[in-house]
Protein backbone atom coordinates (compact mmCIF):
# COMPACT_ATOMS: atom_id res chain seq x y z
CA UNK A 1 0.00 0.00 0.00
CA UNK A 2 1.24 3.58 0.62
CA UNK A 3 4.93 3.72 1.37
CA UNK A 4 4.60 6.57 3.75
CA UNK A 5 2.11 7.07 6.60
CA UNK A 6 2.01 10.73 5.62
CA UNK A 7 0.30 9.75 2.38
CA UNK A 8 -2.52 8.06 4.35
CA UNK A 9 -3.02 11.19 6.41
CA UNK A 10 -2.91 13.31 3.27
CA UNK A 11 -5.49 11.07 1.61
CA UNK A 12 -7.82 11.37 4.61
CA UNK A 13 -7.39 15.13 4.85
CA UNK A 14 -7.89 15.63 1.12
CA UNK A 15 -10.93 13.36 0.96
CA UNK A 16 -12.51 15.01 4.00
CA UNK A 17 -11.86 18.49 2.61
CA UNK A 18 -13.35 17.57 -0.74
CA UNK A 19 -16.37 16.01 0.96
CA UNK A 20 -16.94 19.10 3.11
CA UNK A 21 -16.48 21.25 0.02
CA UNK A 22 -19.05 19.22 -1.93
CA UNK A 23 -21.61 19.31 0.86
CA UNK A 24 -21.12 23.08 1.27
CA UNK A 25 -21.51 23.68 -2.47
CA UNK A 26 -24.73 21.67 -2.60
CA UNK A 27 -26.19 23.40 0.48
CA UNK A 28 -25.24 26.89 -0.78
CA UNK A 29 -26.62 26.05 -4.26
CA UNK A 30 -29.97 24.85 -2.95
CA UNK A 31 -30.30 27.81 -0.56
CA UNK A 32 -29.36 30.35 -3.25
CA UNK A 33 -31.72 28.72 -5.74
CA UNK A 34 -34.62 28.88 -3.28
CA UNK A 35 -33.93 32.53 -2.42
CA UNK A 36 -33.67 33.45 -6.12
CA UNK A 37 -36.79 31.44 -6.91
CA UNK A 38 -38.75 33.21 -4.16
CA UNK A 39 -37.60 36.62 -5.42
CA UNK A 40 -38.58 35.68 -8.96
CA UNK A 41 -41.94 34.42 -7.77
CA UNK A 42 -42.61 37.66 -5.88
CA UNK A 43 -41.57 39.71 -8.93
CA UNK A 44 -43.91 37.67 -11.11
CA UNK A 45 -46.76 38.15 -8.64
CA UNK A 46 -46.12 41.89 -8.49
CA UNK A 47 -46.20 42.11 -12.29
CA UNK A 48 -49.44 40.13 -12.37
CA UNK A 49 -51.01 42.44 -9.78
CA UNK A 50 -49.87 45.50 -11.72
CA UNK A 51 -51.28 43.99 -14.90
CA UNK A 52 -54.65 43.32 -13.25
CA UNK A 53 -54.75 46.83 -11.81
CA UNK A 54 -53.96 48.40 -15.18
CA UNK A 55 -56.55 46.21 -16.83
CA UNK A 56 -59.18 47.24 -14.32
CA UNK A 57 -58.22 50.90 -14.69
CA UNK A 58 -58.44 50.58 -18.49
CA UNK A 59 -61.88 49.00 -18.22
CA UNK A 60 -63.12 51.80 -15.94
CA UNK A 61 -61.67 54.45 -18.24
CA UNK A 62 -63.30 52.86 -21.27
CA UNK A 63 -66.63 52.70 -19.44
CA UNK A 64 -66.34 56.37 -18.48
CA UNK A 65 -65.48 57.31 -22.04
CA UNK A 66 -68.38 55.27 -23.36
CA UNK A 67 -70.79 57.03 -20.98
CA UNK A 68 -69.41 60.42 -22.02
CA UNK A 69 -69.78 59.42 -25.65
CA UNK A 70 -73.38 58.28 -25.11
CA UNK A 71 -74.20 61.50 -23.27
CA UNK A 72 -72.69 63.58 -26.11
CA UNK A 73 -74.45 61.53 -28.76
CA UNK A 74 -77.81 61.79 -26.96
CA UNK A 75 -77.46 65.54 -26.55
CA UNK A 76 -75.81 66.54 -29.83
CA UNK A 77 -77.14 64.00 -32.26
CA UNK A 78 -80.08 61.89 -31.20
CA UNK A 79 -81.69 64.77 -29.26
CA UNK A 80 -81.35 67.10 -32.23
CA UNK A 81 -82.81 64.59 -34.66
CA UNK A 82 -85.68 63.79 -32.30
CA UNK A 83 -86.36 67.51 -31.89
CA UNK A 84 -86.42 67.94 -35.65
CA UNK A 85 -88.89 65.07 -35.93
CA UNK A 86 -91.05 66.67 -33.27
CA UNK A 87 -90.90 70.09 -34.99
CA UNK A 88 -91.75 68.48 -38.34
CA UNK A 89 -94.72 66.70 -36.86
CA UNK A 90 -96.05 69.69 -34.89
CA UNK A 91 -95.75 72.02 -37.89
CA UNK A 92 -97.38 69.52 -40.20
CA UNK A 93 -100.37 71.08 -41.95
CA UNK A 94 -102.73 68.52 -43.34
CA UNK A 95 -104.63 71.14 -45.36
CA UNK A 96 -101.51 71.67 -47.52
CA UNK A 97 -101.05 68.13 -48.91
CA UNK A 98 -97.93 68.81 -51.03
CA UNK A 99 -95.98 70.38 -48.18
CA UNK A 100 -97.30 67.72 -45.79
CA UNK A 101 -95.99 64.90 -48.00
CA UNK A 102 -92.60 66.60 -48.25
CA UNK A 103 -92.45 66.99 -44.47
CA UNK A 104 -93.54 63.42 -43.88
CA UNK A 105 -90.80 62.21 -46.25
CA UNK A 106 -88.26 64.37 -44.42
CA UNK A 107 -89.51 63.02 -41.09
CA UNK A 108 -89.18 59.47 -42.41
CA UNK A 109 -85.56 60.18 -43.37
CA UNK A 110 -84.89 61.64 -39.96
CA UNK A 111 -86.47 58.63 -38.25
CA UNK A 112 -84.31 56.31 -40.37
CA UNK A 113 -81.22 58.29 -39.36
CA UNK A 114 -82.32 58.19 -35.71
CA UNK A 115 -82.72 54.40 -35.82
CA UNK A 116 -79.28 53.99 -37.45
CA UNK A 117 -77.68 56.26 -34.84
CA UNK A 118 -79.37 54.35 -32.00
CA UNK A 119 -78.08 51.08 -33.48
CA UNK A 120 -74.51 52.34 -33.75
CA UNK A 121 -74.76 53.70 -30.22
CA UNK A 122 -76.00 50.36 -28.90
CA UNK A 123 -72.94 48.69 -30.46
CA UNK A 124 -70.68 51.02 -28.52
CA UNK A 125 -72.57 50.18 -25.31
CA UNK A 126 -71.44 46.55 -25.19
CA UNK A 127 -68.89 46.00 -22.42
CA UNK A 128 -66.93 43.43 -24.45
CA UNK A 129 -67.08 45.55 -27.59
CA UNK A 130 -63.36 45.17 -28.28
CA UNK A 131 -63.50 41.42 -27.84
CA UNK A 132 -66.48 41.24 -30.19
CA UNK A 133 -65.42 43.64 -32.90
CA UNK A 134 -61.68 43.19 -32.59
CA UNK A 135 -58.97 45.70 -31.88
CA UNK A 136 -58.55 46.81 -35.51
CA UNK A 137 -62.26 47.60 -35.86
CA UNK A 138 -62.36 49.36 -32.48
CA UNK A 139 -59.48 51.63 -33.54
CA UNK A 140 -61.18 52.24 -36.89
CA UNK A 141 -64.33 53.34 -35.02
CA UNK A 142 -62.21 55.77 -32.98
CA UNK A 143 -60.82 57.19 -36.22
CA UNK A 144 -64.36 57.55 -37.62
CA UNK A 145 -65.34 59.46 -34.50
CA UNK A 146 -62.37 61.78 -35.00
CA UNK A 147 -63.36 62.43 -38.59
CA UNK A 148 -66.96 63.12 -37.55
CA UNK A 149 -65.80 66.12 -35.50
CA UNK A 150 -64.73 67.77 -38.75
CA UNK A 151 -61.66 69.28 -37.07
CA UNK A 152 -59.27 66.58 -38.23
CA UNK A 153 -58.56 64.47 -41.24
CA UNK A 154 -57.70 61.10 -39.75
CA UNK A 155 -56.50 58.29 -42.00
CA UNK A 156 -56.42 54.72 -40.77
CA UNK A 157 -54.47 51.99 -42.53
CA UNK A 158 -54.17 48.28 -41.71
CA UNK A 159 -51.25 46.35 -43.19
CA UNK A 160 -51.10 42.60 -42.75
CA UNK A 161 -53.52 40.14 -41.22
CA UNK A 162 -54.67 40.90 -37.69
CA UNK A 163 -53.35 38.19 -35.35
CA UNK A 164 -55.24 36.79 -32.39
CA UNK A 165 -54.30 38.98 -29.46
CA UNK A 166 -55.17 38.11 -25.91
CA UNK A 167 -58.35 39.94 -24.79
CA UNK A 168 -56.67 41.73 -21.88
CA UNK A 169 -53.79 42.87 -24.05
CA UNK A 170 -56.24 44.10 -26.71
CA UNK A 171 -58.04 46.16 -24.10
CA UNK A 172 -54.82 47.77 -22.89
CA UNK A 173 -53.69 48.40 -26.49
CA UNK A 174 -57.05 49.98 -27.30
CA UNK A 175 -56.84 52.17 -24.22
CA UNK A 176 -53.32 53.22 -25.23
CA UNK A 177 -54.56 54.09 -28.72
CA UNK A 178 -57.38 56.16 -27.21
CA UNK A 179 -54.93 57.94 -24.91
CA UNK A 180 -52.60 58.80 -27.82
CA UNK A 181 -55.48 60.04 -29.99
CA UNK A 182 -56.96 62.06 -27.11
CA UNK A 183 -53.59 63.71 -26.52
CA UNK A 184 -53.29 64.52 -30.21
CA UNK A 185 -56.80 66.02 -30.23
CA UNK A 186 -56.23 68.04 -27.05
CA UNK A 187 -52.67 69.29 -27.45
CA UNK A 188 -51.29 68.81 -30.95
CA UNK A 189 -53.24 71.47 -32.88
CA UNK A 190 -52.85 69.09 -35.80
CA UNK A 191 -55.00 68.97 -38.93
CA UNK A 192 -53.97 65.55 -40.14
CA UNK A 193 -53.59 62.37 -38.12
CA UNK A 194 -52.34 59.10 -39.59
CA UNK A 195 -52.84 55.78 -37.84
CA UNK A 196 -51.05 52.72 -39.14
CA UNK A 197 -51.60 49.21 -37.81
CA UNK A 198 -48.87 47.01 -39.23
CA UNK A 199 -48.68 43.31 -38.42
CA UNK A 200 -45.85 41.14 -39.65
CA UNK A 201 -44.75 37.64 -38.73
CA UNK A 202 -43.60 38.40 -35.22
CA UNK A 203 -44.33 42.04 -34.53
CA UNK A 204 -47.46 44.10 -33.95
CA UNK A 205 -46.91 47.79 -34.70
CA UNK A 206 -49.39 50.55 -33.99
CA UNK A 207 -48.12 53.92 -35.19
CA UNK A 208 -49.65 57.40 -34.85
CA UNK A 209 -48.42 60.51 -36.66
CA UNK A 210 -49.72 64.08 -36.62
CA UNK A 211 -48.67 67.34 -38.26
CA UNK A 212 -49.19 69.37 -35.10
CA UNK A 213 -46.98 71.64 -33.02
CA UNK A 214 -44.99 68.78 -31.52
CA UNK A 215 -43.17 68.87 -28.20
CA UNK A 216 -39.88 68.04 -26.57
CA UNK A 217 -40.35 64.30 -25.96
CA UNK A 218 -37.43 63.92 -23.53
CA UNK A 219 -38.62 66.86 -21.44
CA UNK A 220 -42.22 65.62 -21.32
CA UNK A 221 -41.16 62.12 -20.29
CA UNK A 222 -39.29 63.53 -17.31
CA UNK A 223 -42.04 65.98 -16.41
CA UNK A 224 -44.57 65.21 -13.71
CA UNK A 225 -47.47 64.65 -16.16
CA UNK A 226 -48.92 61.19 -15.90
CA UNK A 227 -50.08 60.76 -19.54
CA UNK A 228 -46.85 59.65 -21.19
CA UNK A 229 -45.72 57.76 -18.09
CA UNK A 230 -49.01 55.86 -18.07
CA UNK A 231 -48.51 54.94 -21.71
CA UNK A 232 -45.00 53.73 -20.98
CA UNK A 233 -46.16 51.68 -17.96
CA UNK A 234 -48.93 50.09 -19.98
CA UNK A 235 -46.51 49.24 -22.76
CA UNK A 236 -44.18 47.56 -20.25
CA UNK A 237 -47.03 45.50 -18.83
CA UNK A 238 -47.92 44.00 -22.20
CA UNK A 239 -44.25 43.48 -23.07
CA UNK A 240 -44.40 46.18 -25.73
CA UNK A 241 -42.10 49.07 -26.51
CA UNK A 242 -43.19 52.67 -26.78
CA UNK A 243 -41.27 55.03 -29.09
CA UNK A 244 -41.99 58.75 -29.10
CA UNK A 245 -40.43 61.01 -31.72
CA UNK A 246 -41.37 64.63 -31.49
CA UNK A 247 -39.78 68.05 -31.73
CA UNK A 248 -41.43 71.49 -31.36
CA UNK A 249 -42.89 72.45 -34.74
CA UNK A 250 -42.28 69.06 -36.34
CA UNK A 251 -45.33 67.03 -35.37
CA UNK A 252 -45.35 63.87 -33.33
CA UNK A 253 -44.85 60.21 -34.07
CA UNK A 254 -45.75 57.60 -31.46
CA UNK A 255 -45.18 53.90 -32.08
CA UNK A 256 -46.22 50.89 -30.00
CA UNK A 257 -44.31 47.74 -30.88
CA UNK A 258 -45.39 44.44 -29.39
CA UNK A 259 -43.73 41.09 -30.16
CA UNK A 260 -46.20 38.36 -31.10
Amino acid sequence: MFEDKKEYILLIILSTSILIFLISVVIVTITRYKVKQQALFEEKNLLQTQFSQTLLQSQIEIQEQTLQHISRELHDNLGQVASLIKINLTTLKLNEPEKAVEKIEHTKDLTRQLIADIKSLSVSLGSDRIAQTGLAKAIETEVERLNKTGEFVAIYELKGAMPEIDGDKSLILYRMAQEVLNNMVKHSEAKHINILLHVNENLFILAFRDDGIGFNAAEKMNASGAGLRNLKNRATLINAQLHIHSLPGNGTEITIEMPL
Binding site: M1, F2, E3, E7, L10, L11, L14, S15, I18, F21, L22, V25, V26, V28, T29, I30, R32, Y33, K34, K36, Q37, A39, L40, F41, K44
Partner: protein
Protein backbone atom coordinates in the same frame (compact mmCIF):
# COMPACT_ATOMS: atom_id res chain seq x y z
CA UNK B 1 -21.82 5.64 -21.28
CA UNK B 2 -23.58 4.16 -24.33
CA UNK B 3 -26.99 4.27 -22.59
CA UNK B 4 -26.35 7.86 -21.58
CA UNK B 5 -25.39 8.72 -25.17
CA UNK B 6 -28.52 7.00 -26.51
CA UNK B 7 -30.74 8.94 -24.10
CA UNK B 8 -28.96 12.19 -24.91
CA UNK B 9 -29.82 11.71 -28.59
CA UNK B 10 -33.52 12.13 -27.73
CA UNK B 11 -32.80 15.59 -26.34
CA UNK B 12 -30.17 16.57 -28.90
CA UNK B 13 -32.22 19.39 -30.42
CA UNK B 14 -33.31 20.80 -27.06
CA UNK B 15 -30.51 23.32 -26.58
CA UNK B 16 -26.97 24.10 -27.58
CA UNK B 17 -25.69 23.11 -24.14
CA UNK B 18 -27.17 19.59 -24.31
CA UNK B 19 -25.73 19.20 -27.82
CA UNK B 20 -22.27 19.72 -26.30
CA UNK B 21 -22.79 16.85 -23.84
CA UNK B 22 -24.07 14.58 -26.62
CA UNK B 23 -20.97 15.31 -28.71
CA UNK B 24 -18.77 14.81 -25.64
CA UNK B 25 -20.34 11.39 -25.05
CA UNK B 26 -19.90 10.45 -28.70
CA UNK B 27 -16.20 11.35 -28.65
CA UNK B 28 -15.74 9.54 -25.31
CA UNK B 29 -17.27 6.38 -26.76
CA UNK B 30 -15.03 6.62 -29.84
CA UNK B 31 -11.95 7.11 -27.66
CA UNK B 32 -12.86 4.16 -25.42
CA UNK B 33 -13.38 1.92 -28.46
CA UNK B 34 -9.95 2.88 -29.83
CA UNK B 35 -8.40 2.36 -26.37
CA UNK B 36 -9.92 -1.13 -26.16
CA UNK B 37 -8.64 -2.00 -29.63
CA UNK B 38 -5.18 -0.73 -28.67
CA UNK B 39 -5.28 -2.77 -25.44
CA UNK B 40 -6.14 -5.95 -27.37
CA UNK B 41 -3.51 -5.40 -30.02
CA UNK B 42 -0.92 -4.48 -27.39
CA UNK B 43 -0.40 -0.93 -28.66
CA UNK B 44 0.26 2.04 -26.39
CA UNK B 45 -2.92 4.03 -25.99
CA UNK B 46 -2.07 6.80 -23.52
CA UNK B 47 -1.20 9.06 -26.42
CA UNK B 48 -4.93 9.23 -27.19
CA UNK B 49 -5.59 10.97 -23.88
CA UNK B 50 -3.22 13.79 -24.84
CA UNK B 51 -5.74 14.67 -27.53
CA UNK B 52 -8.94 13.52 -25.85
CA UNK B 53 -8.44 15.64 -22.68
CA UNK B 54 -8.42 19.05 -24.46
CA UNK B 55 -11.40 18.01 -26.62
CA UNK B 56 -13.25 16.84 -23.52
CA UNK B 57 -12.54 20.13 -21.73
CA UNK B 58 -13.59 22.08 -24.82
CA UNK B 59 -17.01 20.42 -24.92
CA UNK B 60 -17.63 20.57 -21.17
CA UNK B 61 -16.47 24.18 -21.13
CA UNK B 62 -18.82 25.02 -24.01
CA UNK B 63 -21.64 23.25 -22.20
CA UNK B 64 -21.11 25.49 -19.16
CA UNK B 65 -20.71 28.52 -21.45
CA UNK B 66 -24.13 27.95 -23.01
CA UNK B 67 -25.96 26.88 -19.86
CA UNK B 68 -25.09 29.85 -17.62
CA UNK B 69 -26.32 33.36 -18.50
CA UNK B 70 -23.94 35.33 -16.28
CA UNK B 71 -21.56 37.33 -18.49
CA UNK B 72 -18.59 37.22 -16.11
CA UNK B 73 -18.87 33.46 -15.90
CA UNK B 74 -19.11 33.20 -19.68
CA UNK B 75 -15.92 35.22 -20.20
CA UNK B 76 -14.15 33.18 -17.50
CA UNK B 77 -15.32 30.00 -19.21
CA UNK B 78 -14.02 31.09 -22.61
CA UNK B 79 -10.70 32.29 -21.17
CA UNK B 80 -10.24 28.99 -19.34
CA UNK B 81 -10.93 27.03 -22.56
CA UNK B 82 -8.40 29.09 -24.53
CA UNK B 83 -5.84 28.85 -21.72
CA UNK B 84 -6.30 25.11 -21.32
CA UNK B 85 -6.08 24.41 -25.06
CA UNK B 86 -2.93 26.49 -25.19
CA UNK B 87 -1.38 24.54 -22.29
CA UNK B 88 -2.34 21.25 -23.95
CA UNK B 89 -0.81 22.27 -27.27
CA UNK B 90 2.40 23.36 -25.58
CA UNK B 91 2.44 20.15 -23.57
CA UNK B 92 2.01 18.01 -26.71
CA UNK B 93 4.87 19.79 -28.46
CA UNK B 94 7.20 19.81 -25.47
CA UNK B 95 6.38 16.41 -24.09
CA UNK B 96 8.69 13.72 -25.42
CA UNK B 97 6.83 11.00 -23.57
CA UNK B 98 3.49 11.10 -25.35
CA UNK B 99 3.02 7.42 -24.66
CA UNK B 100 2.73 8.11 -20.92
CA UNK B 101 -0.51 9.21 -19.23
CA UNK B 102 -0.98 13.04 -19.37
CA UNK B 103 -1.22 13.44 -15.61
CA UNK B 104 -0.54 17.17 -15.42
CA UNK B 105 -3.08 18.05 -18.11
CA UNK B 106 -5.69 15.78 -16.56
CA UNK B 107 -5.06 17.33 -13.16
CA UNK B 108 -5.36 20.83 -14.58
CA UNK B 109 -8.55 19.88 -16.42
CA UNK B 110 -9.96 18.39 -13.25
CA UNK B 111 -9.10 21.56 -11.30
CA UNK B 112 -10.72 23.85 -13.90
CA UNK B 113 -13.83 21.67 -14.12
CA UNK B 114 -14.20 21.74 -10.36
CA UNK B 115 -14.20 25.54 -10.49
CA UNK B 116 -16.56 25.69 -13.48
CA UNK B 117 -19.07 23.23 -12.07
CA UNK B 118 -19.05 24.95 -8.66
CA UNK B 119 -19.59 28.37 -10.24
CA UNK B 120 -22.28 27.07 -12.59
CA UNK B 121 -24.16 25.71 -9.58
CA UNK B 122 -23.90 29.06 -7.83
CA UNK B 123 -25.10 30.93 -10.95
CA UNK B 124 -27.93 28.49 -11.62
CA UNK B 125 -30.93 30.44 -12.95
CA UNK B 126 -34.10 29.89 -10.96
CA UNK B 127 -37.32 28.68 -12.50
CA UNK B 128 -40.59 29.55 -10.74
CA UNK B 129 -42.29 26.32 -11.78
CA UNK B 130 -39.50 23.85 -11.07
CA UNK B 131 -37.85 22.66 -7.89
CA UNK B 132 -34.06 22.47 -8.11
CA UNK B 133 -34.05 18.68 -8.42
CA UNK B 134 -36.10 18.98 -11.61
CA UNK B 135 -33.54 21.26 -13.27
CA UNK B 136 -31.29 19.35 -15.70
CA UNK B 137 -28.38 21.81 -15.42
CA UNK B 138 -28.26 21.13 -11.66
CA UNK B 139 -27.73 17.40 -12.26
CA UNK B 140 -25.20 17.95 -15.06
CA UNK B 141 -23.15 20.28 -12.85
CA UNK B 142 -23.40 17.93 -9.86
CA UNK B 143 -22.26 15.05 -12.11
CA UNK B 144 -19.14 16.92 -13.26
CA UNK B 145 -18.49 18.21 -9.74
CA UNK B 146 -18.63 14.76 -8.11
CA UNK B 147 -16.63 13.00 -10.81
CA UNK B 148 -13.89 15.63 -10.86
CA UNK B 149 -13.72 15.68 -7.06
CA UNK B 150 -12.94 11.98 -7.04
CA UNK B 151 -10.49 12.37 -9.91
CA UNK B 152 -8.83 15.22 -8.05
CA UNK B 153 -8.01 12.85 -5.18
CA UNK B 154 -7.08 9.92 -7.41
CA UNK B 155 -4.67 11.95 -9.54
CA UNK B 156 -3.12 13.58 -6.49
CA UNK B 157 -1.31 10.41 -5.42
CA UNK B 158 1.41 8.45 -7.15
CA UNK B 159 0.01 5.08 -8.09
CA UNK B 160 3.17 3.06 -8.17
CA UNK B 161 1.82 0.29 -6.00
CA UNK B 162 -0.36 -2.26 -7.77
CA UNK B 163 -2.90 -2.50 -4.94
CA UNK B 164 -3.32 1.28 -4.76
CA UNK B 165 -3.69 1.42 -8.49
CA UNK B 166 -6.44 -1.18 -8.34
CA UNK B 167 -8.24 0.59 -5.49
CA UNK B 168 -8.08 3.91 -7.30
CA UNK B 169 -9.25 2.26 -10.53
CA UNK B 170 -12.23 0.88 -8.63
CA UNK B 171 -13.00 4.32 -7.16
CA UNK B 172 -12.66 5.86 -10.62
CA UNK B 173 -14.96 3.23 -12.11
CA UNK B 174 -17.63 3.84 -9.45
CA UNK B 175 -17.51 7.58 -9.97
CA UNK B 176 -17.62 7.06 -13.75
CA UNK B 177 -20.85 5.10 -13.28
CA UNK B 178 -22.17 7.83 -10.97
CA UNK B 179 -21.26 10.46 -13.58
CA UNK B 180 -23.24 8.76 -16.33
CA UNK B 181 -26.12 7.98 -13.98
CA UNK B 182 -26.38 11.66 -13.00
CA UNK B 183 -26.10 12.74 -16.63
CA UNK B 184 -29.01 10.42 -17.45
CA UNK B 185 -31.02 11.96 -14.59
CA UNK B 186 -30.20 15.39 -16.05
CA UNK B 187 -31.38 14.37 -19.51
CA UNK B 188 -34.58 12.88 -18.11
CA UNK B 189 -35.30 16.21 -16.41
CA UNK B 190 -35.50 17.72 -19.91
CA UNK B 191 -38.72 15.79 -20.56
CA UNK B 192 -41.13 18.39 -21.93
CA UNK B 193 -44.47 17.04 -20.77
CA UNK B 194 -44.39 19.02 -17.56
CA UNK B 195 -42.73 22.06 -19.11
CA UNK B 196 -45.53 22.50 -21.64
CA UNK B 197 -48.47 22.20 -19.34
CA UNK B 198 -47.16 23.88 -16.18
Amino acid sequence: MVICFAISMFYYMRSLSTKMITWLLFISILTEIIVEICKHTGRKYYILYHFFTPIEYLFIGLYFYHSVKNKTFKSFCLSSIIFFLLICTISIFLNYKLESFPRFISYLECFFLLILSTLSLLFLDPNTDKAIYKVSDFWFSIAFLLFNSSLFIVLFFNQNDKVIKEIFSLINLSFNCLLYFLLIVGFLCLKTKRNIFY
